[in-house]
């Protein structure tokens, strides 16, 4: 990397630490970014991650997980797991999502991620508009994964973790293409559902899966077949 490019990159990363910096200057030592992956998918769990970054660290290339290629996310996953002061992951599976609703399942996964941290953070930066059930200071940040480095780090950890879980699901339930679309509603996925019906990890409470020709939604634990 040229000197100039390094400077530009460092500048970009520093700008993404503005929220963290104001908290650090206010006396917080540990600020955790919290984000989730898999909210809109038709199958599989929702996965949340919480990441505490050290004060002085700029991680090259870190950005909103949606802006990154899968290869770049894998690379950053390794770097973040080395560089972070603490990482926590929370998973709520399809049954949890059907039992509550996606929003609450999501918040519960985030809470689990924060609980799994090895340190108690002084402040949370949470992607989105909601606060979680957590007795210490927190700030929801709309578009947080683009605005805060900690939230971006959490978005990468959540996304990569979930993608890998979905690749495992693909081995257990082949024929749906989970390894490719990770449970999201792509044309291939919808087509597979129409052909084979739902598999055990589909979220039965999601309307899309009902619209697509399923007669009997959803008593829990029962696999409906066309």
């Amino acid at each position: 990397m040229s000197r100039r490019a390094t400077q530009v990159e460092q500048q970009r990363l520093r700008a993404m630490l503005a929220l963290e910096r104001s908290l650090w200057e206010g006396g917080a030592s540990y600020v955790a970014g919290v984000d989730e992956a898999g909210r809109g998918a038709l199958a599989g769990p929702v996965v949340a991650a919480a990441v505490i970054l050290p004060r002085s660290m700029l991680i090259r290339g870190l950005n909103d997980s949606k802006q990154l290629t899968p290869a770049a996310r894998d690379r950053l996953y390794v770097v973040i797991s080395c560089a972070a002061l603490g990482i926590g992951v929370g998973v709520v599976d399809h049954e949890g999502i059907d039992r509550e609703n996606i929003r609450r399942a999501n918040l519960r996964a985030m809470r689990q991620a924060v609980d799994a941290l090895p340190l108690r953070p002084d402040h949370l930066l949470i992607d989105g508009v909601d606060c979680i059930d957590w007795p210490w200071p927190q700030t929801p940040v709309i578009d947080g994964d683009a605005k805060s480095l900690s939230v971006a780090a959490a978005s990468v950890m959540a996304k990569v973790t979930r993608d890998r879980l979905m690749v495992e699901c693909d081995q257990r339930y082949p024929g749906y293409g989970f390894a490719r679309h990770k449970g999201y509603g792509t044309a291939e996925h919808i087509e597979a559902i129409n052909q084979h019906g739902l598999c055990p990890i589909h979220r039965r409470s999601f309307r899309v899966t009902r619209h697509n020709g399923f007669r009997s939604p959803p008593s829990r634990g029962q696999v409906s077949r066309e």
């Binding site: 090259r60 080395c82 560089a83 972070a84 990482i87 992951v89 799994a116 090895p118 973790t161």
Partner: protein, 122 residues
């Protein structure tokens, strides 16, 4: 005895050290402890001091992800690095942070070396 995390980590560090030595780096120190932080490898390439974090995974990619992300880690890499620089009187030395990821799967070893993985502003 099953393969413990610690044994795997130590083996990974040995592989990383050999790998970097083969790349022409000079190995200065291994498992350097500074207070609560630890530096896996400290190597040198020309005039640049390189602090290397080694991440070792087991099965394909990095194993069941929840298991290795959840590891309690409080590695203060940069702070340990600063300590290292101070104790060795190297405050002005050029340095960088690299990450080496190693995953072993059925006898095959994959190594990724990420140079300049992060910067410290301390």
């Amino acid at each position: 005895m099953p393969d413990t995390t610690r044994a795997r980590g130590a083996r990974g560090e040995a592989i990383a050290a050999r790998f970097l030595a083969a790349k022409g780096y000079e190995i200065l120190d291994r498992n350097y402890r500074a207070g609560r932080g630890e530096l896996d490898l400290i190597v040198r390439q020309d005039d640049c001091l390189v602090f290397v974090e080694v991440k070792t995974g087991s099965s394909r990619q990095f194993g069941p992800p929840e298991t290795w992300v959840d590891v309690r880690k409080q590695r203060r890499v940069t702070r340990a690095a600063v300590r290292y620089l101070q104790t060795h009187g190297l405050n002005d030395a050029a340095c960088r942070f690299d990450v080496v990821g190693i995953c072993q799967d059925r006898g095959r070893t994959n190594i990724v070396h990420i140079e300049n993985a992060f910067w410290s502003e301390e």
